[in-house]
Symmetry: D2
Subunit: 141 residues, 4 copies
Amino acid sequence: MTFRAPSQAELTAFLQAEFPQSRCTLEALDADGSVVLAHAVGAAELRPGNTVSGPVMMTLADVALYVAILARIGIVPLAVTTQLSINFLRKPRADRRLLARCRLMKLGRALAVGEVWIFSEGDEEPVAHATGTYSIPRERA
Amino acid sequence: MTFRAPSQAELTAFLQAEFPQSRCTLEALDADGSVVLAHAVGAAELRPGNTVSGPVMMTLADVALYVAILARIGIVPLAVTTQLSINFLRKPRADRRLLARCRLMKLGRALAVGEVWIFSEGDEEPVAHATGTYSIPRERA
Amino acid sequence: MTFRAPSQAELTAFLQAEFPQSRCTLEALDADGSVVLAHAVGAAELRPGNTVSGPVMMTLADVALYVAILARIGIVPLAVTTQLSINFLRKPRADRRLLARCRLMKLGRALAVGEVWIFSEGDEEPVAHATGTYSIPRERA
Amino acid sequence: MTFRAPSQAELTAFLQAEFPQSRCTLEALDADGSVVLAHAVGAAELRPGNTVSGPVMMTLADVALYVAILARIGIVPLAVTTQLSINFLRKPRADRRLLARCRLMKLGRALAVGEVWIFSEGDEEPVAHATGTYSIPRERA
């Protein structure tokens, strides 16, 4: 049986089932393999200074990496983060969603490494940039 | 007026006021300047594989750094994360709280850098290790 | 007097004067602000496994960031690295130069953050990716 | 045949054979598994501002991780760095050696993660702190 990459609908259904409280949504799977996610921004996401908290952006980056990997290898739920680094560049807007674009830079048998650019929706300058590594368990979907 | 470092009660009150939804609690301020925080672990913190999600540990690390800095310089709410890196070492237990111990390695006028060791409560081997940098705005408490 | 960005020749002369033993060379300053550097690869750069050592790539990334910053703000020699992270993706070739392309993602008054893609010359897939932060002293050229 | 960890003399001989140009030396193997290395500091290590260049400290951190791993698993030359992050904390002295203490935080079958504290010899406050991950090829010594 030929491997068929999951569709956006299948990935969305998986995220909703496994992470029902998440405020991340899958917005697009692009032809070049990158994925675009959004994170709602409301009172729960804000911190002193009326800006989006770092943990929200870290969560978005981590989920974006997870989705980018599953979009390539199939829904392998047990892929786990082993390392993540993030630079916070600019203060995000408190009244816009966050958008994240993730592209993988390496997809090996055991490890995947990707980068994530995070923006306040509608703005051109990124608010954060992350790179992360996931460990992929041996059995793939 | 001499600078007086905030007490554990003052820091706890600040966290509860600014981050009412947070599941992090300040457990101890140690004599050497390190701080110990805990994060409750329940269904909201778990992910496929019955383990604690990476974002929960990243959040705990970030809050621990924030508290460690405020414990030293006073309650300066606008201190913000500029960079964070985390290594996930072992699978955390699904039935224990997470504990985090943070110590600062540098506290300058404009930047503070610290490291955070994260454990499943009761276990000796760390589940994660993080380092992070905060930017400190010019006016201190 | 209007600020004039340094030329490729001026930056090259600066590097040669301050880092006479360096095997890094400035190859290009691109219109979008990114810089391209090369690092010679010979016996001095190799390690067991007949591949280029990690420290050579870290050095190249660090110098690329430095040059990218100086190309924008002028020759400010005392700019110093405060943080650097690197992911090693693929084994570099032992018989080609390394090339590094660096673009800044943020250039503030006090801090600059950039990313560096490293390749074996002639290959399309990157061998490493780095992000780093430099502190910029207050007096600029 | 029982596994016997390499001695300090064996590790030193290996480093000298494989990295003859290196200015790193193995100073101690401590009972708790940590290793201590030194790096000579002379004109070749200095940069503008009369301080030790970042790449020297990155090299020292990387070699310290390598030695810490080989000290535990035997001389497996093909272990390679996959990720390294470093925070530069204070300006190192231009007239002292650098010392690095490395301890592993995780030693798995395929990956090892460690942290490195770097000092100017004789000073108590660290000049840098690094964490890094090495990939360990399947056949061990």
